[in-house]
Structure formats: structure tokens, C-alpha cells
């Protein structure tokens, strides 16, 4: 392992020195390889451990939102519930329907899960704490993230089920639409930071970018929720319409892998939001930097679950309209505003940052309210009850 990597990356440095200490001296030659393997193992497993925890958190929180308890039987506060669920899924029969395309059917869960795992690589979990500092990280996220669509479409197509097919078709149409505002919102971030590396993006934020690009944050959050197939954009697996969407026919651990991939994509997506818009792992020094990352991440996760618990689902044409008529103009406005501001103040000081934040919040408020009034239900006011019959009347009252 090159010394430069060891110097920059605390995660590598710690694991490397631990492996070096554990291995006998004559194996020093392979320490680097063992360390690399261990690092990948650790980071991959962090996600596999955090995802069940997130599932537990979501179920408990949804329970609270819905005036019930949520899982509370297995382990303290029901913490072992996801493990119990996983065991149940593993021992269930794995059914492949007769009309299914067997090879594609079996491959789909893996294809869906792989991009999620790949995306973890570029998240900076803390200061000097990441798997790889890719200089095209943002491009990488978008490229790899889009691969999820292929997994979903494979599952829907290969199932030989019409509900699944409908879910798959919806997913392709929707995810492709939401890539556009997502990318334009990210472009504004790139204009600001001048780098595609997530580590650089985190370092180049004088304050959390949320305060400077509120519109970009809004668009990015919304589009990410849509990309993650979460409510209110969960029409890929809208259980009241198309039963379970693309994974209707899946059972056993294949279904489990789908669930894992879905929840892991929320974990990863919230990680990106934390890194890009909330200044990643930065914080005061009384807590280690991964703790700050986790705290911010938890707040983002909480908001996503909150949205899920509150809003009804959007119809399929409304989803498209929302992406193209609402989010796309907003993201373009945001990009133009940031670009102009970067030309005026190439190296903003504290005063300029205040002005910039103020202008951007004003733009965000005006743009959102103008577009919302133009597209939404105009002049909606809670209707006063109308009662044509005032007095108690007999048959003549009608």
C-alpha cells in the first residue's frame, strides 16, 4: 500500500497497522493485500449491519407515527426483530414461478444489490475515513445508481407476472425522469466546489451547503427519495395498486435481498445527502467525526421516514409531471443562480456567504411558491359545510 494512501486515510492507517501487528514478521509482504481485503470486508459489513438497524428504526418510528408500538418482542426494544425476519426469510421455500425466466429471475436480486454496495465506496464516513477518494465520485454515484433500474426491470420482466411487469415499467419511466433534476442539482454543487470528489466537496463547504443551496437540497432530497422508491414515490411497489410491484413473485431470501437492497439504498442515499449538503462528518471536536456523520445521517433518515409516514402516494402521471414541470425548472433556477453568484464572488468571505445564503433562500421561496401556485390546486380553501336543508323537515324536505 502506498504511503500516500496511509497518510490521507485514517481508516486504512488503522486497519493496516492492526493487520501489521497481528501478522508474523515473515508475512510482511502480503500485509497490504490482507489489509485491503479487511477494509472492504469491514465497510461492506458496516452497511449490512446498519441496514437491519435502519429497518428496526424505521419500523419503530413508523409505529410511533401511527400511534402503535412497532416491533418490541425480540431483544431489547425489539432490536433483534430484523434478524428474526432474516432467519424466517432464509428458511422459507424459494419459489420460482413456472412462467418465469429462471436465469434472469435468479440474477435480478444480485444485480439490484450490487450497485448499492458499490456506491458505499465513495461515502466519506468521517474525516480521513472513506474507502476510496475517487476524483469522479459524483459521476460514479450517478452511473452506478442508475444500474439499480436494470435490476428492478430484470425482476419485473422475468417474473412473468403482470403486476411485476407494471412495476418494472413504472420504475424505468420514473427513475429515468428523476435522474435529470438530480444531476442538475448535483451540477450546482460541482459549480460550487469545483471538484467531483466527495471528500473535496465536504472539505469545500464553509457552512453546510444546505444553507447556501436550499433549492438544490430540496430538489436533491426529493429526487433521491424518488430514486430510492420511497413513499410518496413508491409506485414501483405500490402495495395497494400492484400488490408488491416488481418483487411480487419473489419469496424467501431473494425477497430478503430485495428488501435489503432497498433499505440499503436509503442508507446510502441518506449518506450522500449528509456528505453533499450537510458538510459530511464535520462538527465540533468533542465527538469523533464518524459520530457527527452518524448524527446528521440519522436526522436525514428521520426526515425520510417522516415523509413516508405522512404523505399519500402520487399517481404515475403526477410523478412524471412533478419531475419535469416542478423539479426540473427548480434545479435549473438553482444552477443558474449558483453559477452567477460564483462569477460575482469567486472566493466568498463571511459577508458574501451571508448575502449568498439570503439571496438563495429568497430565490428558493419565490420559485417554489410561484411554481406551486402555477401547478397546484389553486385557491384551495377548506370548504365550509353547505346545508341546503336547514330545518328538520319531513318528506317535503327533499
Amino acid at each position: 500500500m502506498s504511503p500516500a494512501v496511509l497518510e490521507d486515510n485514517a481508516l486504512y492507517r488503522n486497519i493496516y497497522s492492526m493487520i501489521d501487528w497481528m501478522l508474523p514478521d515473515f508475512l510482511d509482504g502480503i500485509t497490504g493485500y490482507v489489509a485491503a481485503f479487511a477494509i472492504v470486508l469491514v465497510v461492506a459489513n458496516i452497511v449490512l449491519v446498519i441496514t437491519p438497524l435502519f429497518i428496526w428504526f424505521e419500523r419503530r418510528l413508523l409505529g410511533r407515527f401511527q400511534q402503535r408500538l412497532g416491533p418490541n418482542r425480540w431483544g431489547p426494544f425489539g432490536l433483534l426483530q430484523p434478524i428474526a425476519d432474516a432467519i424466517k426469510l432464509i428458511i422459507k421455500e424459494d419459489i420460482v414461478p413456472r412462467g418465469a425466466d429462471r436465469a434472469v429471475f435468479n440474477a435480478a436480486p444480485v444485480v439490484l444489490f450490487m450497485p448499492v454496495m458499490l456506491m458505499i465506496a465513495v461515502i466519506p464516513f468521517g474525516t480521513q475515513f472513506y474507502l476510496v477518494d475517487l476524483n469522479v465520485a459524483v459521476l460514479y454515484i450517478i452511473a452506478v445508481g442508475t444500474l439499480e433500474t436494470i435490476g428492478i426491470f430484470m425482476a419485473g420482466w422475468a417474473s412473468g407476472n403482470r403486476y411485476a411487469l407494471m412495476g418494472a415499467v413504472r420504475s424505468v419511466a420514473m427513475l429515468v425522469s428523476y435522474e435529470v433534476p438530480l444531476v442538475i442539482a448535483l451540477a450546482a454543487v460541482l459549480v460550487w466546489s469545483g471538484s467531483m470528489s466527495l471528500v473535496d466537496i465536504v472539505e469545500k463547504q464553509p457552512v453546510p451547503l444546505l444553507l447556501l443551496q436550499p433549492l438544490g437540497f430540496f430538489v436533491f432530497l426529493t429526487a433521491t427519495i424518488a430514486e430510492m422508491n420511497r413513499a410518496p414515490f413508491d409506485l414501483i411497489e405500490a402495495e395497494s395498486e400492484i400488490v408488491a410491484g416488481y418483487h411480487t413473485e419473489y419469496s424467501g431470501m431473494k425477497f430478503g435481498v430485495f428488501q435489503l437492497a432497498e433499505f440499503a439504498s436509503v442508507v446510502v442515499g441518506a449518506g450522500f445527502i449528509t456528505a453533499i449538503f450537510l458538510k459530511g462528518a464535520a462538527g465540533w471536536s468533542f465527538l469523533p467525526s464518524p459520530m457527527w456523520f452518524s448524527l446528521k445521517w440519522l436526522v436525514v433518515i428521520f426526515c425520510i421516514i417522516w415523509i413516508r409516514a405522512t404523505l399519500p402516494r402520487v399517481r404515475v402521471d403526477q410523478v412524471m409531471g412533478f419531475a419535469w414541470k416542478f423539479l426540473l425548472p427548480l434545479s435549473v433556477i438553482n444552477l443558474v443562480a449558483i453559477a452567477v453568484e460564483m462569477v460575482i464572488w469567486p472566493a466568498p468571505g463571511t459577508t458574501e456567504l451571508w448575502i449568498m445564503g439570503g439571496i438563495n433562500f429568497a430565490i428558493a421561496g419565490v420559485a417554489v411558491s410561484v411554481l406551486a401556485t402555477a401547478l397546484g390546486h389553486k385557491n384551495f380553501s377548506p370548504r365550509k359545510p353547505q346545508f341546503p336543508i336547514r330545518k328538520v323537515a319531513g318528506k317535503e324536505g327533499v
Partner: protein
């Protein structure tokens, strides 16, 4: 290269999360759009009308519970009213009041369930449903105090109600009446102004009053279209003619209006129960009617306003111990008449929402 596309036929139901039981729709889709559909009934057919001919008059009450099992009290009420008309039986006033209290509480419970499941069909992740069920639970507890049962009550008898309410019922009812308006406000705050809800419901499946009347649809669907027709006003039964309440009506007859009318009706029902609470007289709750009740030869039909629409039992007596014929006018079934008109050309997602707004109950549709 030429692209050809075929329509896809999808069987929605009988096992489907949003068909409210075992309703089956054979739908032909062009992508997301409904081209044609064919409803298939009968998966929950239990032959209630025929069974009623085999039971004596008192026993049929238990069959009516299982028609619309979300509104057993009003089913009981419709049946006993027809029997009482057939046998010319006077009911003591306290019995009438208790019936109205039970029926209006049941209306609130049924509307809560309808609203909750409408939002659930819209994909609201269970939160509104759980909120609605929280209060429905309170009503079911009140029913448990009245008759020991929560769903299949069989509370009403020919000639009155089975038991007088226990002492503990009245404070519990008072507390419920005090708290419920706040809960309805809470639903409104959570749901009514929501942009997504408006987008999903406004202008969806608007029906004109003429169409609805021609299809003899009744209940909240009719009132949502703007016609203030309510059996409690037009043909008052029990003590409704002495009570002061109003009929909320919608404007367009779309899904939003149906939802809105149900919310307003809950408020009116609360006010009715409140009036009954203040006025209920002391006295017996039931006229003694022999268990083997033999009404004179003849027939009777008393329509009532059930939560889902006009409900009535047409009972023909041949002077024997069981009805010669018992025809049920089930509002859920008749409200499905315009299903095709409402659904063709709509999206898949609208389909479940419209079905939810009709508020069908398969126990009543298939009987």
C-alpha cells in the same frame, strides 16, 4: 421498424390488497390506462336471503350482522324496523333512543373505516388508517359495553334493543362525545389540505346527479354529487324526525367530495348522539315480543340510511315463524352500478382510489 402493442388483461382480485374483501375485477389495461373491465361477484356469497327463510324472525338478526360487518348496528336496525312494521309493534321510547345512539355511533365507525381505507388505498402508509382505527376502537368498546360484542353486535331486537345500557356506558359515551370533534379536526389537519390528496381525488370520477339517480345510487356518493337526499330526513324512522341535524352535500361528486361528505357526516352524527344523550327518557327498552314471532300475512319494507346508502329489508310474511321471503337492498351492491362509467379511461392508481371511495363491503355485495 414498426411497434405494435397489445392490451394486457389483469385480474385484480379476488385476493388483492385494495379490493376490500374478495371483489374481482378483470381489467384490460393499455399501459396504465383502463380500457375495459368486468366485475366478478360472488366470492363471499353465503345465501343470506335464503338462510333467512329457514330461521325464525329473531334469529335473522344475527344474519344481518354479517352483511356489512363494518356497520352491524344499522343492519340490525333496518331488519327490525321492517319486522316491526310487519307486526305493528310499538317500541318504547328509550329503546328507540338507544337504537339511534348505536346506529349513529356505527355510522361514525363505518365512515372512519371508509376514510381510513380510502387513504390507505391512496398509499398513505397506514398513518391515517391507524388514526381512524384508534377512534373506531373507542366506538367498538362502547358497543362492547352495550351488548358484549364488538363487530357482530346483534344488539337490536324486534320491539326494541336487547339490554339497557349499563351505568358505565353513559360517562364513557360523554367522554367520547367530548373528544371526538378534536380527533376529526386532527384528520382534517392531516389529510384534507394535502396537495397529493387533492391531486389524487379532485375531479376524479365526477358523476352528475342525474347519472347517480338513474343508477339508484344512494348514500355519501349521492350526497357528494350535490343532492341532499337522506332517508333520515326524507322518510324518518325511529326518532330522527325529532332530532336536529343537517345533510352535508358536495359539489362535483368526485372522490374528494365523497371523502369530505363522510367527514362532515361524522360531525352530524356526533351532534345527533349528543342530542340523544341529553334527552333519553327512562323506561323499558323493549316491548315483549314472543321468541316465536308470527307476524300477520303481508309484506313490509322500511328503508334506512345506512353508512353506505339506503338499506332495506323487504320481508314477506305468510304468517309462519320465518319470513317467506327476505330481499335485501344492499347499498354497496347498488353503488357499484356505475363502476364501468367511473373507471374506464382512468389510471390503475385511480382504480383503487375510486373503488375505495365507493366504500363497498363484500359481505353486503355478495350477501
Amino acid at each position: 421498424m414498426s411497434v405494435s402493442s397489445n392490451s394486457v388483461t389483469v385480474n385484480i382480485g379476488p385476493q388483492h390488497p385494495s379490493t376490500h374483501g374478495v371483489f374481482r375485477l378483470k381489467v384490460e389495461f393499455d399501459g396504465e390506462e383502463v380500457l375495459d373491465l368486468e366485475p366478478v361477484f360472488g366470492y363471499l356469497h353465503r345465501g343470506t336471503e335464503k338462510l333467512a327463510e329457514e330461521r325464525n324472525y329473531a334469529q335473522v338478526v344475527t344474519l344481518t350482522d354479517r352483511l356489512d360487518y363494518t356497520a352491524s348496528m344499522t343492519n340490525n336496525q333496518a331488519y327490525v324496523l321492517s319486522c316491526e312494521k310487519l307486526g305493528q309493534i310499538e317500541v318504547p321510547e328509550r329503546g328507540l333512543y338507544l337504537r339511534v345512539i348505536a346506529a349513529e355511533l356505527q355510522r361514525i365507525a363505518a365512515h372512519l373505516m371508509a376514510t381510513g381505507f380510502l387513504l390507505q388505498d391512496m398509499g398513505a402508509m397506514g398513518t391515517p388508517l391507524m388514526y381512524c382505527f384508534r377512534e373506531r376502537e373507542r366506538i367498538l368498546e362502547l358497543f362492547e359495553m352495550l351488548c358484549g360484542a364488538r363487530i357482530t353486535n346483534s344488539y337490536m331486537r324486534i320491539g326494541g334493543v336487547f339490554y339497557d345500557a349499563p351505568e358505565s356506558f353513559w360517562p364513557a359515551l360523554r367522554q367520547f362525545l367530548n373528544e371526538m370533534p378534536g380527533y376529526i379536526e386532527e384528520y382534517e389537519a392531516l389529510m384534507t389540505g394535502n396537495e397529493i390528496l387533492l391531486g389524487r381525488t379532485k375531479g376524479v370520477s365526477s358523476l352528475s346527479v342525474d347519472d347517480i339517480v338513474n343508477a339508484s345510487i344512494s348514500g355519501p356518493m349521492l350526497r357528494a354529487a350535490g343532492l341532499a337526499w337522506d332517508v333520515r330526513k326524507s322518510d324518518p324512522y325511529d326518532i330522527y324526525s325529532t332530532l336536529d341535524f343537517e345533510i352535508p352535500v358536495g359539489i362535483q361528486g368526485d372522490v374528494y367530495d365523497r371523502y369530505w361528505v363522510r367527514l362532515q357526516e361524522m360531525r352530524q352524527s356526533l351532534s345527533i348522539v349528543d342530542q340523544c344523550f341529553g334527552r333519553i327518557p327512562k323506561g323499558p327498552v323493549r316491548t315483549e315480543v314472543p321468541l316465536i314471532f308470527r307476524p300477520p300475512v303481508g309484506d313490509a319494507y322500511v328503508p334506512i340510511e345506512a353508512p353506505k346508502g339506503e338499506l332495506g329489508f323487504y320481508i314477506v310474511s305468510d304468517g309462519g315463524i320465518s319470513p317467506y321471503r327476505c330481499k335485501i337492498r344492499a347499498p354497496s351492491f347498488i353503488n357499484l352500478t356505475l363502476l364501468k362509467e367511473m373507471l374506464i379511461g382512468k389510471k390503475m392508481a385511480d382504480l383503487v382510489v375510486i373503488l375505495g371511495s365507493i366504500d363497498i363491503n363484500m359481505g353486503e355485495v355478495d350477501r
